[in-house]
């Protein structure tokens, strides 16, 4: 097991390298340099050149990249021109709502997707299966922002059950916090739930007719144990991977959802930065979210190893 963990962590080094180059390039390649973007249309070429020099963007690529990486590692992610504060600090201030939203949406996702995925596979070909597959088919096809708008209209405007938009921090009471998060979490979770239901169903289908399932039944194991002990543990790696991968969709989905529901999270931060051309904040948020995503997938992969002994032994 330790060698598996080490291997998995070492394999992240090239990923981090490529990822950091790409994220660095996003700012480096801006036509006219970052200063042109920061200063806007009205700035003269002299002003732009002056700022580019001040920020060090006239230096060779490798020097700039090395410098940027060192700064990032030291915790200096640049300064927001708009907010006049360090990028990392801005991210810290906007992280809590996004985190809350993502967790709520993930809980919603898992509660619905795993049981229905298992059920649909086990009862495949029946009405339960057809309905589950059809619903998840539609779920995957709805863009998050559309679902958000539809849910807002239905539950916020027409039925008035839940607040249309807005955000209450955890400090205003947990109930209130949840009340505001419910709609965004659902509209974010539906697409994820649909995807994971499909993946759960197909990975369960893959093990449904395996020899060892037949053996388990031939041993007299009860159906519940056949499904939850023998099938699920074998299907788990695929399901876990799907959950890890869908986390990327979840966290980028928060960008759209937050802007619609007026939740002051990372999504709001990046969108207002795009409007204000605050390039370092954009870069910082992308870097931060990517790091979170990579870490989540690392954790998923490590649990994967716990579930499947073949992975630990390096046989697969």
């Amino acid at each position: 097991m330790p060698s598996y963990i080490l291997k998995r962590i070492l394999s992240l080094i090239p990923v981090f390298f490529v990822m950091s180059v790409v994220i660095f390039l996003v700012v480096y390649l801006i036509p006219g340099g970052p200063a042109a973007s920061l200063l806007g249309m009205e700035a003269s070429q002299d002003q732009i050149n002056a700022l580019n020099t001040e920020l060090g963007f006239n230096r060779p690529f490798l020097v700039q990249y090395g410098d940027w990486v060192m700064n990032v590692l030291r915790g200096d992610w640049g300064t927001s021109y708009l907010l006049k504060q360090p990028v990392l600090q801005a991210i810290g201030e906007h992280f809590a709502p996004t985190m809350s939203l993502a967790v709520c949406a993930e809980i919603f996702t898992l509660i619905f997707s795993i049981p229905f995925g298992i059920l649909a596979a086990y009862k495949h070909g029946t009405t339960v299966d057809t309905v589950t597959v059809s619903v998840s088919m539609v779920g995957v096809a709805i863009p998050g922002f559309l679902l958000s708008m539809f849910l807002m209209l239905l539950f916020g405007v027409t039925l008035k059950w839940l607040p249309v938009a807005g955000y209450a921090a955890m400090s205003e009471g947990f109930g209130q916090h949840l009340r505001y998060l419910l709609l965004p979490a659902i509209s974010l979770g539906v697409a994820q739930a649909a995807y994971i239901t499909r993946m759960t169903r197909s990975s369960m289908m893959d093990v449904l007719y395996m020899g060892y399932i037949r053996t388990a039944r031939a041993k007299g194991v009860r159906e519940s144990a056949v499904v939850f002990k023998h099938m699920l543990k074998n299907a788990a790696p695929t399901i876990l991977t799907a959950i890890g991968q869908s986390f990327g969709g979840l966290i980028t989905g928060t960008i759209v959802t937050e802007t619609l529901f007026n939740i002051p999270g990372l999504g709001m931060l990046i969108i207002s930065s795009i409007n204000q051309r605050d390039v370092f904040v954009i870069q910082g948020v992308v870097l931060f979210v990517t790091l979170v995503y990579v870490l989540v997938n690392l954790v998923v992969d490590l649990t994967y190893g716990l579930v499947d002994p073949r992975i630990q032994m390096g046989k697969k």
Binding site: P143, M149, G249, I270, I271, Y293
Partner: protein
């Protein structure tokens, strides 16, 4: 004398498989519904604007935010523009952008994937680059690229192609590697077939069907992605009617005029749904294992 020879039986089985294939195509409801639905949407988007005199950008101030009626089937938006015709013009833009993304990422991904499967060193470099790109959540990368290069339809195409190409490359590489291990490729090598010949005659055909399936999913994904980008203001710039823009405009008048979001939204969902059905159906149809599996059921 009545003993059926092996070849006779084989012929019979082949014939039966052909029949099953044909039957599968027709009874594959996902494939048929998806295909017909998508073709219908495309035809509407192409034909109706050709024969209609309504200008999608013509503002009729007196008819602002009118609910759906016979005159305006989908109603009008806050500038009094006819939503139905705008959705159709939007379809042209959105479908063009998305299909370009699907085609480009399929082509570039295939080239990268096949190269990677042939050269070991290149494989390592290319796949690490793909890993790095895949590590960045897709929409986020697209948003960042849009922010850097500015909003135009072309940047949307480029950004989304960059997002989707790595997964195509990986898929192509994986199935090319599997094929390369197959005995028939070994046999061709032993017979002295050149690399180019093996590639064109043996490996490429095996990659085609998963590629078509994945391209149809990327098509569907890019429709959602383009709509989301435009909706966030990081996509196709405003006056042009794209699905994302139409929906973005509806955001501010959502409570007053829900139809501005509902009808265009339903069209977007239907289009994505049809493409997903098409992809699912194609996957079932093109998967050679399905013939046997269906039969044993």
């Amino acid at each position: 004398m009545a003993a059926a020879t092996t070849s006779e039986v084989n012929n019979k089985i082949l014939k039966e498989q052909k029949e099953i294939r044909r039957e599968n195509l027709l009874t594959n409801s996902r494939l048929m519904i998806g295909f017909l639905g998508f073709v219908f949407i495309v035809l509407c988007a192409v034909l109706i604007p050709m024969f209609s005199s309504v200008d999608p950008n013509e503002m009729e101030i007196s008819a602002r935010l009118t609910p759906p009626s016979l005159h305006h089937i989908f109603g009008t938006d806050e500038f009094g523009r006819d939503l139905f015709i705008r959705v159709l013009y939007g379809a042209r833009v959105s479908l063009c952008v998305s299909s370009l993304v699907a085609v480009l990422s399929a082509i570039i991904g295939t080239i990268i994937g096949i190269y990677a499967s042939f050269f070991k060193l290149l494989d390592h470099i290319l796949m690490r680059i793909c890993d790095g790109l895949i590590a960045i959540p897709g929409m986020l990368l697209a948003i960042a690229l849009m922010a850097a290069f500015g909003n135009t339809s072309w940047t949307v195409v480029v950004a989304l192609t960059i997002v989707y190409t790595p997964s195509v490359a990986r898929m192509v590489r994986a199935s090319a590697l599997v094929t390369k291990e197959q005995t028939f490729v070994e046999a061709a090598k032993v017979q002295g077939a050149s690399n180019v010949r093996i590639l064109c005659k043996l490996i490429f055909p095996s990659v085609i069907s998963p590629l078509i399936v994945q391209a149809s999913f990327i098509f569907a994904q890019s429709i959602i992605a383009e709509a989301s980008l435009s909706f966030l203001g990081a996509g196709i710039p405003a006056p042009a009617a794209s699905w994302g823009n139409i929906l973005q405009a509806s955001k501010t008048v959502l409570t007053k005029a829900p139809w501005t979001a509902v009808f265009p939204g339903i069209i977007v969902i239907l289009c994505v749904l049809c493409l997903n059905l098409l992809g699912d159906g194609l996957r079932d149809y093109l998967d050679p294992h399905m013939i046997g599996r269906r039969k044993s059921k």
